[in-house]
Amino acid sequence: MNIYTDMFVTFFKVGLFTIGGGYAMIPMVENDVVRKKRWLGSEEFIDILAVAQAAPGLFAINMATYISMRIAATREGIRGWLLGLVGSLGVALPSVIVILLIAMFFQSFKNNPWVMRFFMGMRPAVVALILVPCLRMFKTAKISVNNIWIPISACALISFCGISPVLIVLCAVVCGFVYGKMKGGRR
């Protein structure tokens, strides 16, 4: 198998067999890319996770693209962007297929009273399941008494003042940059 097909198949499998979002993919990608195919070393893999997490966009796509660029950098005759494209499409394709099948199916059952009651029960749970990762992120985002005003004001501005989340993100990026520069200049 050439490396492009191999990449596509690997990430297609990852997309198909991980449920629960990008981070659930990490162990599976590591197993395939580091242990089985030996495309990368395990330290390189950790660097890749850090960059894929920090950059904007979808974690899975960032990971596929950066892994490809790393592979292309160490081997002759591989186009990194093409490998990344193949990997990204591979990881996205199972979602598109599965969701489209469900969407078509669900549209025709939407007004069935059983289905309606099932979804009525599920909706409050969805809200709870969004709140939980948010609380878990308190640790990884290093939230303390000093900076808890950031998430609280971001949340209040969006949900109570109707400020667009787009503005909040842009503002955080700019403020973060300025803060970093100031802190860097002081040293």
Binding site: L58, F59, S88, R117, M120, I130, A141, K142, I158, C175
Partner: protein, 196 residues
């Protein structure tokens, strides 16, 4: 033209997304439910529920599903809705993909000469962005705590109280017992089926 609008909207959502699929939800809710009114709030919640319990990244699942339903809601046929799903998905992918290529070129070139000053700036930048993202996710949850998802106490107190119980059950199940979200969603759906 709804396809072009979908593409632009999801391009925006893609590049402004820091911190994964859940952070994306408040961006999508803002654009798709509030600004463009392509979906109702309860349709959005159903999409999130289905996206959480199907394979693949949540961001891609939500984009695909939202693209499909938005086009369908605007009165177009099913084949156009499939096109809408593909357009929204590509929209959410292309900018981060290009950015990643540029970033990795730069990083691979300068990985040995990456000075500690630059790393320090990037680190403090994210010390502001990450807490803001937590606020963004919380906002998504708060925005979805509405009468479309919980019922209203005035109209049907029964549904409202049961909804609160379901919410508490899923919250504790996920936070304290780390129960698989798919199992929780199925259990809550079954509870709704039997009680409502």
């Amino acid at each position: 033209m709804i396809f072009w609008q979908l593409f632009l909207t999801f391009s925006n959502i893609g590049i402004l997304n820091f911190g994964g699929g859940y952070a994306m939800l408040s961006l999508i809710h803002n654009e798709v439910v509030e600004k463009n009114a392509w979906l109702t709030a309860s349709e959005f919640t159903d999409i999130v529920a289905i996206s959480q319990s199907t394979p693949g990244p949540i961001g891609i699942n939500v984009a695909t599903y939202t693209g499909y339903i938005s086009v369908l809601n605007s009165g177009m046929p099913e084949w156009a809705a499939v096109l809408g799903a593909i357009v929204a998905t590509l929209g959410v992918l292309w900018l981060p993909f290009l950015l990643m290529i540029v970033v990795s070129r730069l990083l691979l070139k300068s990985i040995s000469s990456m000075d500690t000053d630059k790393t320090a700036i990037i680190n403090s930048m994210f010390s502001v962005i990450r807490p803001a993202v937590v606020g963004l996710i919380a906002a998504a949850a708060i925005l979805l705590m509405n009468s479309e998802n919980f019922g209203s106490f005035a109209e049907s107190p029964f549904q409202f109280i049961i909804s609160l119980f379901i919410f508490g059950f899923a919250f504790i199940g996920s936070l304290a017992y780390k129960t698989n979200p798919i199992i929780l969603l199925l259990l809550c759906g079954l509870a709704g089926l039997m009680i409502f």
